[in-house]
Amino acid sequence: MHAAWTVKHKPRTLSAVVGNRETIEKFRSWVESWSKRIPKKRAAFLYGPPGVGKTVCVEALSHDLNMELVEKNASDYRTAEMVQRFAGLASQYGTLFGSRRLVLLDELDGVTGTADRGGIRAVIAVAKDAQCPVVLIANNSYNPRFATLRRYCLLIEFKKPTVLQVVKHLKRVCAGEEIEAEERALKFIAERSGRDVRSAVNDLQALAQGRNRLTYENVAWLSSRDRKEVIFSVMKTIFYSRSCAEAKRAVDATDVDPDMLFQWVYENVPYQLTHPSDLVKAMEALSQADLYRGRIRRTRNWKLMRYVYDFMTAGVAMAREKTKPSGWVPYRFPQRIRWLGQTKGERQMRSAIGMKIKRKCHVSSIVAVKEILPYIRIIFENNTQMRADIAKWLDLDDAMVEYLAHAKTRYLKQ
């Protein structure tokens, strides 16, 4: 119930993956060709921008063809030794239980640092001698470090799906969550995500969770063009005013939600005021503004709001003394709002698991999350037998097991 929608509504079968039809067919026929004989290229290299369905596609295909998927996230396994350990798995086609095996090395971009050359060399060795289909995934296959590797791989490029294809997927998610959504709202989310399906689903969850209807008005405030211009002009006033009065007028002129404005200012301070002593003054002003917000919450005395405004407008404006003007620096959308949306499901999931651990391990759910969960995660990622037994022992549901075994850092990667 609290899972991230990107995980919960991940396509389980290939036909549910949106976009890239021909690409997917090419990939499927390569994997299927293994059942006749070992093809010339023993590894496939899937590449393309984030959130277009590379990993999902591999997972869905292994499900459709009933293959055992052995998946490793390469950013965890960067050294040659780590990759070699993994290579052992690729050395046999069948598994003990008769099903065929598909080996996936995900997020290969993580193995490209100068310290990891051995890592790439080891991947090449795996690709050359594999006895079962090996799939490599990266965002950018043209990274020079992959030059040699590319020669041993079938290159398969994933492109961004169209807005309508993204909308199609969002509709499916909405149906699953029993949310009635306006087409226009979904289209807006799809466009804004830059056709990154994962990020679109994350945005959808942030905007729609807890509602049963999603209208265009619900989403349009996010960054519709006029809204953005209003915020931008307020920001410009705040960061460039030379007097308190001028800075304070910035908020009078608009009806921007003060909490929202605070987040905008807070996000952009370090980009606008780059000199450390200016930065300190501006952050101190925001800290004061925040203190007053707390006092208002406690005392319900809204008269104090004027001090919040003082600090977050004039306080920030007056901080500028030593920062040299350096041309136009674009204003950034508050990352914190995005993070909060994206990590909400994760936080809820963690505390639900904490409650399960608490029942067995004589600790509070808070201690469980902090001190026991991280170890369970490592165990779940590495040892399927222990995973099954501990999951049963703790009475974890499938979503929890999935979260612990695959949580990685995927939602936050971008």
């Binding site: 965890d76 350990r85 807070y266 370090p270 980009y271 450390p276 002593s277 930065l279 300190v280 501006a282 952050m283 101190e284 925001l286 800290s287 925040d290 203190l291 917000r293 707390g294 919450r297 406690r298 990352q335 914190r336 993070w339 909060l340 990590t343 994760e346 936080r347 963690r350 505390s351 608490k358 067995k360 391990c361 004589h362 600790v363 509070s364 759910s365 808070i366 201690v367 999350v369 902090k370 001190e371 026991i372 991280p374 170890y375 369970i376 995660r377 490592i378 165990i379 590495n382 040892n383 037998q385 222990m386 037994d389 501990i390 022992w393 850092t409 936050l412």
Partner: protein, 323 residues
């Protein structure tokens, strides 16, 4: 073979199985012999056997049916005064049936109880002494109010020695058939430092990799289990990368669910450990203290800690200029 968390599977069941805290165990065993125990406070760092000792004591005292005579409450999850007024009182007032006339109430993480709840508890402890004995478990006994402390027998638990750790681990290693090299054991002790829960979890996580455990395995496990690197965050700020360090902070708070107070405590420790000029340590302590105070007043954790990171950024800048 069945797996659960080894920390539970191998948790001692009786006092005689405990490998450490010999003096405490002896005294608790004498309570069992006389079938009488006072109210107790078990204080000490995590993973040193406080909860285990309380459970073992109860089991030794009542035998197999001990569950009927025991209530375990965790004050971090149920910290308010209503829990004391209702749950605790209801349990404490009813006489136990059997040879021993009192029941046992274990209040774990009792240092997280609110002041009000502790005051209420104090009266409950007094009124129902005949029917219920309390074992309060805490990391810091100082956070338990004086009147309660004076009604309890205090027991101070300390970190396990290397010998304690090894004798405990040897049993698990044999039973679970894992291979650990000597430098693996050294590494476990190095990272867990006598916290037996951490010790055991580290061993199990390392064992899950399915190969002999050496020092490197242990360190890689610990690295994965503690993605929270306060030191790295501080270094980034001091190097002038405020934006990067704020990003780390967000990760800690939003992704890993760390509490602001824990982060600031860690910052405080790290600053004094670091190699920065001595006079700066004091200057920064002042800044840290101020932000800590604001957090206590209920301000926003990320905003306040970011303000502190900005201070560190400025400090780094000035140190470079030799101010």
């Amino acid at each position: 073979m069945s797996y659960e968390m080894w920390a539970e599977k191998y948790r001692p069941q009786t006092l005689s199985e405990m490998v450490n805290q010999k003096e405490i165990v002896e005294r608790l065993e004498s309570f069992v012999k006389t079938k009488n125990i006072p109210h107790c406070i078990f204080a000490g760092p995590p993973g040193t056997g406080k909860t285990t000792a309380a459970l073992c004591l109860t089991r030794d005292l009542y035998g197999t049916g001990y569950r009927e005579h025991l209530m375990e409450l965790n004050a971090s999850d149920e910290r308010g005064i209503n829990v004391v007024r209702e749950t605790v009182k209801t349990f404490a007032r009813v006489r136990s049936i059997g040879e021993i006339p009192f029941k046992i109430m274990i209040l774990d993480e009792a240092d997280n109880m609110t002041g009000d709840a502790q005051q209420a508890l104090r009266r409950t402890m007094e009124r129902f002494t005949e029917t219920c004995r309390f074992i309060l478990i805490a990391n810091y006994s100082g956070k338990i109010i004086e009147p309660i402390q004076s009604r309890c027998a205090p027991f101070r638990f300390t970190y396990l020695s290397r010998e304690n750790q090894d004798s405990y681990l040897r049993r698990i290693i044999d039973k679970e058939n894992v291979q650990v090299s000597d430098d693996g054991l050294d590494a476990i002790f190095e990272v867990a430092r006598g916290d037996l829960r951490k010790t055991t979890n580290t061993l199990q996580a390392a064992a899950s990799l399915g190969r002999p455990i050496d020092a490197e395995t242990v360190y890689s496990v610990i690295g994965r289990a503690n993605p929270i690197d306060v030191r790295e965050m501080i270094t980034l700020a001091m190097k002038g990368d405020f934006i990067g360090s704020r990003e780390k902070l967000r990760e800690m708070i939003l992704k890993y669910g760390l509490a602001g107070v824990d982060i600031i405590r860690q910052i405080h420790i790290e600053i004094f450990r670091s190699g920065i000029p001595e006079k700066w340590k004091i200057k920064l302590a002042d800044a840290i203290g101020e932000i800590d105070f604001r957090l206590i007043q209920g301000a926003d954790e990320e905003v306040q800690l970011s303000a502190l990171l900005a201070r560190l950024t400025e400090a780094g800048h000035e140190m470079k200029r030799g101010v």
